[in-house]
């Protein structure tokens, strides 16, 4: 919520480099409480490279690539009726670290159904599949950086890590902004979920403020009466500098 209150007036135009990634905002690669990270984390330091065109450009997506129902998880896999569970709208703003809206960002989401079961051939959980729920969607942000999709609130589920670990209800988010350096995958949680306190995946993040940033808040102002509750989840991608006094990225050396 801190991001909402921040009064930042950034210059509108920028197509320069992205601000250095603040690694203290993220989990380390090796986080032993999340056991799978032990053998999948590089042991060498990442090699920091000055950005080039390869990092400040990124694929551009257009609305005609998406289907009309891609952002409506209640209807996009409905076969015989509506999926079971709590009808839920999720919305928010995607901005960069200087507070600018990230327009036309591709927001891709995926989640378990109300039983905590994923429609995935590798998910063996006892929770029932819902014949009318696929569990994925995608939208583009508008000119204000705003996105919205509609879904069924996911259920919590157990997973193999320690003997009795449970994931809090969550929605996975993939974000593709203006630059390759902004690419991000994260997870959104629901305020008040007691499972967040012990979740080994949340606990990979060493910073409580950053964990709070992943919690969506009930947004009564955006609910649809007699229909759906709404949750607000704002996302911040890496900030982009303006290119005053320089043409380093692709020009002649100064």
């Amino acid at each position: 919520m801190t991001s909402l209150a921040m009064p930042i007036l950034a210059p509108a135009a920028a197509d320069g480099e992205y601000l250095m990634r603040d690694t203290t905002s993220h989990p380390p690669a090796l986080a032993p409480g999340y056991k799978t990270s032990v053998l999948r984390s590089p042991r060498n330091a990442l090699i920091s490279i000055p950005q080039t065109l390869s990092e400040v450009t990124a694929p551009v997506f257009s609305a005609d690539e998406l289907g009309a129902l891609d952002g409506d998880l209640i209807r996009n896999y409905a076969k015989t009726g509506m999926p079971i569970g709590e009808r839920t709208i999720v919305h928010g703003f995607v901005r960069d670290q200087l507070g600018r809206p990230v327009k036309n960002a591709l927001v891709e989401v995926w989640q378990a159904n109300a039983s905590g079961r994923y429609r995935h051939k590798k998910d063996q959980y006892l929770g029932a599949l819902d014949p009318n729920f696929g569990g994925c969607g995608r939208v583009l942000t508008d000119e204000h950086g705003h996105y919205v999709f509609r879904t069924i609130k996911p259920g919590p589920y157990p997973w193999r890590n320690r003997i009795n670990d449970w994931r809090p209800a969550h929605i996975h988010f993939g974000l593709s902004g203006n630059g390759w350096a902004q690419r991000l995958i994260t997870q959104m949680y629901f305020e008040g979920d007691p499972l967040m306190a012990t979740c080994p995946i949340i606990r990979t993040i060493p910073d409580e403020e950053q964990i709070r940033g992943l919690i969506a808040h009930l947004d009564m102002g955006a609910t649809v009466p007699l229909d759906s509750r709404a949750f607000r989840f704002d996302i911040v991608l890496r900030g982009q500098r303006a290119t005053w006094f320089e043409n380093t990225l692709q020009g002649e050396a100064r």
Binding site: I47, I49, N76, R119, T204
Partner: protein, 206 residues
């Protein structure tokens, strides 16, 4: 000090990343238009190539639930993005330069069908050898890993590449060089990724 917003914390893509980013791989069909591993269309200009490889963990075990994306310039070395203003290089309208692939759940092999990229101007106009940018996410990877693929038949350009030359350990530069093979009439570049341990791939903080 003027405050900056903090970037939203990364979280692992998890074991079911395919549902959201590649639902057909998860075992179902939901979107009319799927983002996939074929970048080159019949109209695309340039040499057709296949890029393929596997991913290994720190115990040398195949990792079979990875999702990879690539981002590359077209055959003349131009990115399909407004920030690329290199003079004299045109966008190819039939090539976006972006693709997404999953490792096969059985064989662990991933692949892309694309064209070989051209030379792109680096910082200060210093040319960068042809390369493909890769981004790797999976269960157990807390922050997506960035790396680059270079081509073994570009030895001269690679030797002068300003990014490869930033890697202090010459031996480690080799982890970014794909090997060209001929398969039937097709050029295939093999590129295995090692997340940890001996021969660990160089990953970048970009």
């Amino acid at each position: 000090m003027i405050p900056l917003l903090r970037e939203t914390a990364s979280q692992t893509a998890g074991p079911y990343v395919h549902i959201g980013l590649a639902p057909k791989a998860a075992g179902f069909d939901i979107f009319e238009n799927n983002f996939g591993h074929v970048l080159a269309t019949p109209e695309t200009q340039g040499e057709r190539i296949t890029i393929e490889g596997r991913v290994f963990d720190g115990s040398d075990t195949l990792v079979r639930d990875v999702l990879l994306e690539i981002w590359q310039a077209n055959a003349v070395g131009r990115y399909a993005h407004a920030a690329d203003r290199q003079p004299g290089k045109q966008v190819d309208p039939s090539f976006r330069g972006w693709g997404r692939a999953c490792t096969d759940f059985e064989t662990g092999v991933w692949s892309f069908e694309t064209v070989k990229p051209g030379v792109v101007a680096g910082r200060g106009g210093v040319p960068m050898a042809p390369h493909v940018n890769l981004w790797i996410v999976a269960r157990g990877i807390n922050v997506g890993l960035n790396t680059r693929l270079y081509f073994d038949d570009e030895a001269q350009a690679n030797a002068a590449d300003p990014v490869l030359n930033l890697i202090e350990w010459e031996e480690r530069r080799k982890t970014l060089i794909a090997r060209r093979e001929q398969r039937g009439g097709n050029a295939v570049y093999k590129f295995d990724i090692r997340l940890q341990g001996e021969g660990e791939t160089v990953f970048f903080d970009v």
